[in-house]
């Protein structure tokens, strides 16, 4: 029985005096798709950013595949990891952003191939082949030479997913991947994510797409004001929310 892919124990995060995460405890198993739901400001994006150490947590323990994020435990003290080690662990975690954040000075192919070449020092030819295959997989084999500003939002987000996959991560984080898209472009991105989930990728998805959460998610976690209000299978939570706050939120988005 393998251990959890992500394990959070009483994770707290403060920005100055503002406490954004007030003790998050949850586990994500390998091959699990977890959807994080909640009103804006509930801390779900912050939690996601803590997982790859874009934000430092203030207390609690956060582990990815058994290793602490950003720290090392020696004796009874935590030691900050050197940049090299933080970066190595990030290469195993893919992240997709709400605003795509493609590199605008690079073509779609260069965007996908950049990190394997620059970070993992893989041979260019191998990476180019893999990058082409990935762009093909997200349905963009005809946009290989296009710059991001020549692509629609949905196409950009699919390139961003291919870019994250090029590092062959064992965990994918999605931070509201469809929130910045025109409604008719949401479907193409969700289709790519659905296919990824079917292939067994471990995914944590911050989303407002209830339909996606119900169909694809294995677990649904509802967060509000920095705490997990309730968690369960999506059908359970959506059909019979136990908490008032979950009910109120779902009644607005459904």
């Amino acid at each position: 029985m393998p251990g959890p892919m992500v394990q959070a124990e009483a994770v707290h995060k403060r920005f100055g005096p503002l406490e954004v995460l007030k003790g998050i405890t949850l586990e994500v198993a390998p091959r699990e798709v977890m959807c994080l739901l909640g009103p804006s400001g509930s801390g779900k994006s912050t939690f996601l950013r803590c997982i790859n150490h874009l934000e430092k947590i203030n207390s609690g323990r956060l582990r990815v595949d058994g290793e602490l994020v950003g720290y090392e435990e020696r004796g009874d003290r935590l030691h900050e990891l050197p940049e090299r080690e933080v970066c190595r662990r990030r290469t195993e975690i893919g992240m997709v952003f709400q605003r795509f954040n493609l590199f605008p000075h690079m073509t779609a192919l260069e965007n996908v191939a950049a990190a394997p070449v620059l970070v993992k020092k893989e041979p260019r030819a191998d990476v180019a082949t893999r990058a082409r295959a990935l762009l093909d997989r997200v349905g963009l084999s005809d946009k290989i030479e296009a710059y991001p500003n020549q692509l629609s939002g949905g196409q950009q987000q699919r390139v961003a997913i291919a870019r994250a996959l090029a590092m062959q991560p064992k965990l994918m984080l999605f931070d509201e991947p469809t929130s910045a898209l025109d409604p008719e472009l949401v479907g193409e991105v969700l289709d790519v994510m659905r296919a990824l989930a079917e292939e067994g990728m471990t995914m944590i998805v911050v989303t407002h797409e209830i339909g996606f959460a119900r169909e694809v998610g294995d677990t649904l976690v509802f967060m509000d004001e920095g705490v997990v209000v309730e968690a369960g299978t999506p059908r359970e939570v959506i059909a019979n929310p136990r908490h008032e706050r979950t009910k109120a939120f779902l009644s607005k988005v459904l």
């Binding site: 790859n52 874009l54 940049e83 090299r84 970066c87 190595r88 990030r90 290469t91 975690i93 893919g94 992240m95 952003f97 605003r99 954040n101 493609l102 590199f103 605008p104 000075h105 690079m106 073509t107 950049a114 990190a115 620059l118 970070v119 710059y147 991001p148 500003n149 020549q150 961003a160 870019r163 994250a164 590092m167």
Partner: protein, 313 residues
Amino acid sequence: MQSTEGHRPEEIRAVPLRHPGRWAAAAVLLVLAVMLAHNMLTNPRWQWGVIRSNLFSPPIVSGAENTIKITIFAMAIGVILGILLAVMRLSPNQVLSSAAWLFIWFFRGTPVYLQLTFWFAISSLFPTFGLGVPFGPEFVHLSANTIITPLVAGLLGLGLNEGAYYAEIVRAGILSVDHGQFEAAQSLGMRRATLMRKIVLPQAMRVIVPPTGNELNNMLKTTSLLVVVTYPELMYQTTNDAARTFEAIPFYVGACMWYLFMTTLLTMGQFYVERYYARGSSYALPPTPIQRMRRNLTTLRRIPFSASGTGGS
């Protein structure tokens, strides 16, 4: 909605707006231009013959070459130093960022002329330079006068000063790059140095290039201050020749021509560099002069009533 094809309304042929102000301004400027041209042709003190026979004389040409050489070297020092200082100033390491701030504060806060004089006179402060253990034994021992030649003094003065200014330009460029770019690069496991070199600086270049053109242009002209360190660049040679022959004006007019020629070349180069770094950032790149010329010629032919008197060309 019905299609309007087939009965399109007739083309608008309005009477063009008249611009009497433009005509008046053009007339005044034309008179001034004719006066200047008349003076240049009839006033013998311009001494066009002297200009013609000295514009390509060996001292002037070698002076121009030295001007170009020192512009390139000093600018290279300035650019490398500026990038280094900008990255240092934005570094989370406070010792580095304070050191960069202090450097910029000093070199932007004192006149470049003074800095040049100072470097030239440095031998009276440090008669010798040594290489060795601080406060310990020295391995290499050199006299300041052999190291600090006019060229080195000039490069130090111009290069360090430029570095301080250029740092601020690079910093503005780095700050102009969207924060999401840093996060995307970090999430892919890029280290800070890679992130800066491959992701942030290439994007910052769009903001950095136009002021760099300015700086380069300025640098080329500021080399004329190297007269003070007796480095034989264009201005030094011009002044020498002017003093030797008692013909000030023709030599200074010649120097003007040389400087204008060199700065014009730089401006043309800048245009193409800007186009290169604009890739992926705008849908339509600005047309090159050749493209623009071709377009103007074709549109000229399409103007239906260009001879009606407002264009006035």
